[in-house]
C-alpha cells in the first residue's frame, strides 16, 4: 500500500493546493511542501528499513500492489518497487521538495494551478518508476507530460510557447511509437502464449525473431532516447530547459530525463536483449557523440541556463553509454550518474533561476564579477560546477569513472573518446564560473547573497554530492540485487533466443 500512498499523496496534495490557493497562496505552498516532504520521509524510512537485509532477500519486488483494472484486456494496476525504483523514487521526492522551495518566490500568478501541475508531474514520474504493467506505465508516461507542458507554457520565460510545443511534439510523437511497440509486444505475446497481458514480468522472455524484436525495441528506444535525450533527438531539451520556470527545469533535468534512462534499463534491454545487443554499437557511438557534442555546445552558449541545459546532453550520454555497455561496473556507474546528475544539475538550475530572479537576465554578458557581491552564492555555484565537470570526491565522478571503467572492457576507442568528453566538460565548467562569477563587477550589481530558503535547498544537495562521491556504497548496494536480476534475465533470454534461432 505504501506505493499507492506515494502517488496518492501527491495527486491529492495537488488538488488540495489548487483548492487552498483560492484563499491563500502561502497556504498552497505549504500544502505542496507538506505533500512532498511527507512522501520523501516515507520513501526514506522505507529505504532505511529495507537496507540492506530485505534488499538481498528480495525475490521479485520489495513491495507491490496489484489490482485488476480491465481484466478482459489483461490490464492491471500493478505497482512494484525494487532497489532501482526505490532509489529513483527517493530522488524524485527529494527534487520535488527542491522544486516547491525553488518556486516559493518565483511563481506569483496562478499559484494554485502551478502547484497542481507540479505535484502531478512528480506523481506521474513516481508512477513511471513504479509501474510494472506496461499499460499503466504508458498511462503514467503521458500523465507526466501534460502538466509539464502547462508548467512550461504558462509559467515559462519569453519563448515559452515555442518551447512547450516543441517539447510536447517530441515527447508525444516518440511516446506514440512506444505505444505501438507496447501493443505489438502485447499481441506477439498473445500469439505465442494465448494470454493477453501487459504485465512486465510476463512479457519478459517473449520470444520473437530478431528482425521483429529490433523494430519493436526501436519503438521503445526512440521514446526513451528522446527523453534522455540522445543526440540527434536532443534539440527540444535546451529550449524546454531554458524557457521553463526554475522548478520546471529542475524536474526536467533531474527527473524527466531519468525516466528515459530508467526505461532503457528496465524495459529495452531486459525485454529485447538480443535486439539491444545488436543495437548496442550504434547506441554507444551515439552516446559518445552526445558526450562530446553536448559539452562543446554547452561551451558555445552565452545564456547561462542554456549552458547548463546542454551539459545534460553530455552527462546523459554517459548514462546511455553505461546502459548499453551493460556490465556491472557500467550499470552501477550509470545509476550513480543518474542520481548525481539529478542533484548537481538540479542545483545549478536552482542557482541560475535565483540569479535570474535577482538580475532579470540569463545573459552572461550582463553578469561578470558576481563573486564580489554574492560570494556564498558564487561559492555554491563553483561547487556544483566542479561536481558537473567530474571532480573526484563528488558524486558525478564516481558515476562517470565506473561507466568508463566498464566501457573499457568493451571498447578502448569509445572509452578514450568519452574521456575526451570529460576533458571538454572542463571548458564549459570554467566558462560558467569565469563569465558569471569571476572578472570584475562591471555592471555594479549589488545583490542579496543566499537567502535562508536557498541555503535550505543548497546545503543538503552539497552534502548528498559529497556523500555520493566519498561513500557511494549504500546506493551501490541498494541497486546491486536489482542489477544482477536485470542482467540475469537479459542474459538468460539472450541465450534462449540464440537457441531459438538455430
Amino acid at each position: 500500500m505504501i506505493l499507492v500512498w506515494f502517488i496518492a499523496i501527491l495527486l491529492a496534495g495537488g488538488i488540495a493546493c489548487w483548492v487552498v490557493a483560492r484563499w491563500s497562496a502561502p497556504a498552497c505552498r505549504w500544502t505542496a511542501l507538506a505533500a512532498t516532504v511527507a512522501d520523501f520521509v516515507l520513501s526514506l524510512i522505507f529505504w532505511i528499513r529495507c537496507y540492506p537485509v530485505n534488499l538481498l532477500r528480495q525475490q521479485d519486488w520489495l513491495r507491490q500492489v496489484n489490482w485488476t483494472w480491465f481484466p478482459e484486456a489483461g490490464i492491471h494496476f500493478h505497482l512494484a518497487i525494487d532497489g532501482l525504483s526505490l532509489l529513483l523514487v527517493v530522488l524524485t521526492f527529494f527534487l520535488g521538495i527542491v522544486s516547491v522551495l525553488a518556486s516559493w518566490n518565483e511563481i506569483r500568478e496562478g499559484v494554485g494551478f502551478f502547484h497542481l501541475n507540479l505535484l502531478w508531474v512528480v506523481a506521474g514520474i513516481a508512477g513511471v518508476f513504479l509501474a510494472v504493467d506496461l499499460f499503466l506505465f504508458y498511462f503514467a508516461w503521458e500523465l507526466m507530460l501534460i502538466p509539464m507542458y502547462f508548467l512550461i507554457a504558462i509559467w515559462g520565460h519569453e519563448r515559452r510557447v515555442y518551447a512547450a510545443v516543441k517539447f510536447f511534439l517530441f515527447t508525444q510523437l516518440s511516446g506514440l511509437l512506444m505505444l505501438i511497440s507496447i501493443l505489438a509486444l502485447y499481441f506477439i505475446h498473445h500469439r505465442a502464449t494465448g494470454v493477453y497481458t501487459f504485465e512486465y514480468s510476463e512479457l519478459i522472455g517473449t520470444s520473437m525473431p530478431l528482425h521483429v524484436a529490433i523494430w519493436v525495441m526501436l519503438g521503445f528506444f526512440i521514446a526513451f532516447a528522446v527523453k534522455l535525450p540522445m543526440v540527434p533527438v536532443h534539440t527540444w531539451l535546451p529550449d524546454a530547459h531554458t524557457e521553463a520556470p526554475t522548478a520546471g527545469s529542475v524536474i526536467l533535468a533531474g527527473l524527466l530525463l531519468k525516466t528515459g534512462a530508467y526505461g532503457l534499463l528496465r524495459f529495452v534491454v531486459p525485454l529485447f536483449p538480443a535486439a539491444a545487443h545488436w543495437f548496442s554499437p550504434i547506441a554507444t557511438i551515439l552516446a559518445v557523440i552526445g558526450i562530446i557534442y553536448g559539452a562543446v555546445l554547452a561551451f558555445g552558449q552565452t545564456d547561462l541556463k542554456r549552458l547548463v541545459a546542454y551539459t545534460s546532453v553530455s552527462h546523459l550520454g554517459f548514462v546511455l553509454l553505461g546502459i548499453f555497455v551493460w556490465n556491472k561496473l557500467a550499470l552501477e556507474g550509470a545509476l550513480i550518474t543518474i542520481i548525481a546528475h539529478g542533484i548537481s544539475t538540479g542545483a545549478l538550475f536552482v542557482l541560475v533561476g535565483s540569479l535570474q530572479e535577482r538580475i532579470h537576465t540569463r545573459e552572461m554578458d550582463r553578469m561578470s564579477g558576481l563573486w564580489q557581491t554574492i560570494p556564498r552564492f558564487s561559492g555554491a555555484a563553483m561547487f556544483f560546477a566542479m561536481a558537473s565537470i567530474g571532480l573526484p570526491g563528488l558524486g558525478d565522478f564516481v558515476g562517470e569513472f565506473l561507466i568508463l571503467l566498464g566501457t573499457y572492457k568493451v571498447s578502448v576507442g569509445l572509452t578514450v573518446a568519452a574521456s575526451i568528453g570529460v576533458l571538454a566538460s572542463t571548458l564549459y565548467g570554467l566558462k560558467f564560473i569565469q563569465r558569471a562569477f569571476h572578472g570584475s563587477n562591471v555592471h555594479h550589481w549589488e545583490l542579496h547573497d543566499l537567502f535562508a530558503r536557498e541555503v535550505v535547498i543548497i546545503a543538503p544537495m552539497i552534502a548528498i554530492l559529497l556523500w555520493l562521491g566519498l561513500f557511494p556504497q549504500p546506493v551501490l548496494n541498494t541497486f546491486t540485487p536489482t542489477m544482477n536480476k536485470l542482467q540475469q534475465t537479459a542474459s538468460q533470454q539472450y541465450q534462449a533466443l540464440d537457441r531459438g534461432q538455430q
Partner: protein
C-alpha cells in the same frame, strides 16, 4: 603512533571546511590561527610519524591503513586508504613543513587582502589534497588528490579574480593539466583491466609477475601515466601553463607551483617505478623529456624580465632534472632533488614575493636594483637559495642533489653521456640566469624606494628555509666527502638502488668537478654581462637573428602560439559557429515544411465555387484514370 597518518590530511581538510563556511565572518586573527594552526598540527603529526617510522620501522618498511571502503563494485575495489613507506614519509614531511612555513609567511603577505580567509581556505584544501595524493594506497585515491590539487591550483592562480587575465591563466593551467589527467585516467582503466586492481603495491606486484620487461601493456600503461605526470609537472610538451600560473599570489607560487604540486608527476613515476622499469622505452622518454625540458626552460629563463617568470622557468627546468633522474633509474636522486628543490625554490619565491611587495608590486628586474642594501635578510635569502639552485659546491643543498642526478645520468645502465652533457649545460644555464637576476635586482643602483619591508613572519620563514637550503644537502654526503648517504639509504627501503655500469675514466668526483666548473663559468659570465658591463648583452639582441632567438625563447619556444592555432582556436570557432546547434535546423526545417504544406492546402480553401468545381472534376478524372489504367 603510525595510526596518526590519516589525521595528517584530515586536519587541513576540516579547517578548509571551517574557513569556507565561517571564514568571511571570522576575525583575521582567528583565520590565521585556524589556517596556519591546522598546517602546524599536520606538520607536528607528520614529524612524529616520521620519527616513529625511522626509529621503529614497521615490518617491511611499510605501513598500510584503510580508513573506509570507498567503493566496491563486483571485482573493482577502492579504499580510502593510506600507505606509508620511506618515499611517502619523506614527501609528506617536506610538504607539510614547507607548507607550514609558507602559510606563516602568508599571514604577512596577504594581510591587507580582501580575500584573506578565502586564501587560507584554498591553501588548506591544497595541503589536504596534496597529502592525500602522496599517501594514497591506490591510484584512484591518488587521482582524487591529483585533481584536488589541480582545483586548488586553479582557484589560487585565479585568486585575484577581478582581473580577467588571472582568470585566463587559471583556466589555462586547469585545462592543460587536465589534458594530462585524461591520459592518466585512461592509464588507470588499462591497469585495472589488465591487472585487476588499482592498489599501487598490488598492481606493481602483479605487473612484475605478469609482464616481461618491454611488454606492450606495460609500455602503454607507463606511457599513459607519464602523460599525467608531464601535465602536472609542467614538462614538455605540456609545460605552457606554468609560467602563466605566476598570476597567483606569490606564496601560492612558492607552495604549489614550485615546491609541491608540480612535483606530483615526479612522485607518481617514483611511486609506480616497477611499472616504468618494465617499460624501457618509456623510461628513455622520461629521461629525454627531462633533458630537453631542462634545456629549453633554462634558455627561456634567460630571457625573462619578470622575476617570477624567471623562477617559473627555473622550476620547469629543475623538474626536468628530476625527470632525468627518474628516466635513468636514479629514483632516490630524484626524490632527493625534490626535497632540496622544495626548500630552495620555495625560498626563492618567498624572497621574490618580499621583493615585489617592497617594490610596489613591480615584477620587472630591470626596474629594480641595489636591493641588497635595503632589505638585507631578503637579499641574503635570495642569494642563498639562488646559490643552492645553481649548485654552489659543498655548501648548498642543490649541489648534492644535482650532482647525484648527473652522476646517475652518467653511471646508470640507462644513462648516457648525452644526458649527462645536457644536464651539464643546464647547470651553466641555471647559474647564468639566476645570477643574472641577482646581479641586476640586488646589486647596482637603487631604483625604487622600499616600502613594506618584510617583518617577522616573512623573515622567520625565509631564515628557516635559508638554513634548510644549506643543510638539507648534508643528508646525502657522496663518497669523496665521507659517504654518508642517510636519505638515500632510507629511500632504498622503498625504491630500488641504481646499478652502476662500467665507468671508464669518470668518477663521481670528476663529474662534480666538471659541474662546478660549469657553475663557476655561469657565475663569471653573469658577473661580466650583468654587473660589470651592464648592457653588454645589448649587441646580442640588436641584430635580427639575436632578437629573433630572444623573442622565440621569451615566448617559450612558440608552444603557446602553436597550441592556440592548433587546438584552442578551432574549438572556440566551432563552438561559436554551432551555438544554435545545426541539428536543430533539421527540425526547424521540418516545422517550416509542415507550415508550408498547411499554407498550400489552406490556400485551396478559397471560397470560390469555380475552384472547387474544377478541382472536383480534376480529381475525378485522375481517380478514374487510375482505376482504369493502373
Amino acid at each position: 603512533m603510525l595510526e596518526l597518518t590519516g589525521i595528517i590530511p584530515a586536519i587541513p581538510f576540516f579547517s578548509f571546511l571551517l574557513l569556507a563556511v565561517f571564514g568571511p565572518r571570522m576575525a583575521r586573527k582567528a583565520v590565521s590561527v585556524v589556517g596556519v594552526g591546522s598546517i602546524a598540527a599536520s606538520t607536528i603529526i607528520s614529524g612524529i610519524v616520521t620519527a616513529v617510522f625511522i626509529s621503529a620501522p614497521p615490518s617491511g618498511w611499510s605501513y598500510h591503513e584503510v580508513i573506509w571502503r570507498w567503493m566496491s563494485v563486483s571485482s573493482f575495489q577502492a579504499d580510502i586508504g593510506f600507505y606509508l613507506d620511506a618515499l611517502s614519509v619523506v614527501m609528506v614531511l617536506v610538504i607539510t613543513f614547507v607548507a607550514f612555513l609558507i602559510h606563516l609567511y602568508s599571514t604577512e603577505y596577504m594581510e591587507g587582502d580582501e580575500g584573506y580567509s578565502r586564501f587560507f581556505a584554498y591553501m588548506n584544501l591544497f595541503v589536504a589534497s596534496m597529502v592525500t595524493l602522496v599517501l594514497a594506497d591506490n591510484l584512484l585515491l591518488l587521482y582524487l588528490g591529483w585533481e584536488g590539487v589541480g582545483l586548488c591550483s586553479y582557484l589560487l592562480i585565479g585568486f585575484w579574480y577581478t582581473d580577467p587575465a588571472n582568470g585566463r591563466a587559471a583556466r589555462k593551467a586547469f585545462i592543460v593539466t587536465r589534458v594530462g589527467d585524461t591520459s592518466m585516467v585512461i592509464g588507470l582503466f588499462l591497469i585495472f583491466q589488465r591487472l585487476g586492481t588499482l592498489n599501487i603495491q598490488e598492481l606493481m606486484h602483479r605487473a612484475a609477475q605478469q609482464w616481461p620487461v618491454g611488454a606492450a601493456f606495460a609500455i602503454a600503461a607507463a606511457a599513459l601515466l607519464l602523460g599525467g605526470a608531464v601535465g602536472k609537472s609542467a614538462q614538455l610538451p605540456l609545460q605552457t601553463w606554468l609560467p602563466d600560473a605566476m598570476a597567483g599570489p606569490t606564496p601560492t607560487s612558492a607552495l604549489i607551483h614550485a615546491a609541491t604540486m608540480v612535483t606530483a608527476g615526479v612522485y607518481l613515476i617514483a611511486r609506480t617505478h616497477v611499472l616504468f622499469s618494465l617499460a624501457p622505452p618509456v623510461m628513455l622518454a622520461v629521461a629525454v623529456i627531462g633533458a630537453a625540458t631542462l634545456l629549453l626552460a633554462g634558455c627561456s629563463a634567460l630571457t625573462q624580465r619578470d622575476i617570477k617568470r624567471v623562477l617559473a622557468y627555473s622550476t620547469i627546468s629543475q623538474i626536468g632534472y628530476m625527470f632525468l633522474a627518474l628516466g635513468v633509474g636514479a629514483w632516490s636522486a630524484a626524490i632527493f632533488h625534490f626535497m632540496t628543490h622544495a626548500f630552495f625554490k620555495a625560498l626563492l619565491f618567498l624572497a621574490a614575493g618580499a621583493v615585489i611587495q617592497a617594490q610596489h608590486e613591480e615584477h620587472d628586474i630591470f626596474k629594480m636594483g641595489g636591493l641588497r642594501r635595503m632589505i638585507p635578510i631578503t637579499s641574503w635569502a635570495f642569494l642563498i637559495s639562488g646559490c643552492a639552485l645553481a649548485g654552489l659546491p659543498i655548501i648548498t643543498a642543490g649541489f648534492y642533489s644535482k650532482g647525484m642526478i648527473l652522476w646517475g645520468a652518467w653511471s646508470s645502465p640507462q644513462g648516457a653521456p648525452a644526458l649527462w652533457i645536457a644536464g651539464l649545460v643546464g647547470v651553466l644555464l641555471t647559474s647564468l640566469y639566476i645570477f643574472r637576476v641577482i646581479f641586476i635586482a640586488f646589486f647596482g643602483e637603487a631604483q625604487i624606494p622600499v616600502e613594506h619591508p618584510p617583518r617577522l613572519a616573512k623573515n622567520l620563514s625565509m631564515v628557516v628555509l635559508s638554513v634548510l637550503s644549506i643543510v638539507a644537502g648534508w643528508v646525502n654526503l657522496p663518497p669523496y666527502l665521507g659517504n654518508k648517504l642517510w636519505l638515500d639509504e632510507l629511500l632504498h627501503t622503498s625504491l630500488p638502488t641504481v646499478a652502476e655500469k662500467q665507468l671508464g675514466w669518470m668518477t663521481e668526483g670528476w663529474s662534480e668537478g666538471i659541474i662546478t666548473a660549469a657553475f663557476v663559468l655561469g657565475l663569471l659570465l653573469a658577473y661580466e654581462l650583468y654587473l660589470k658591463h651592464r648592457g653588454a648583452t645589448r649587441p646580442l639582441t640588436e641584430n635580427a637573428l639575436g632578437r629573433a632567438i630572444h623573442e622565440f625563447w621569451n615566448a617559450d619556444w612558440g608552444f603557446d602560439f602553436a597550441y592556440d592555432k592548433l587546438f584552442v582556436a578551432p574549438v572556440v570557432w566551432f563552438a561559436q559557429v554551432d551555438k544554435r546547434d545545426f541539428i536543430d535546423k533539421f527540425y526547424a526545417g521540418l516545422a517550416a515544411l509542415s507550415r508550408a504544406c498547411y499554407r498550400a492546402l489552406s490556400a485551396t480553401e478559397s471560397g470560390r465555387m469555380r475552384w472547387y468545381a474544377a478541382s472536383i472534376v480534376g480529381g475525378t478524372v485522375v481517380f478514374v484514370f487510375i482505376v482504369l489504367f493502373l
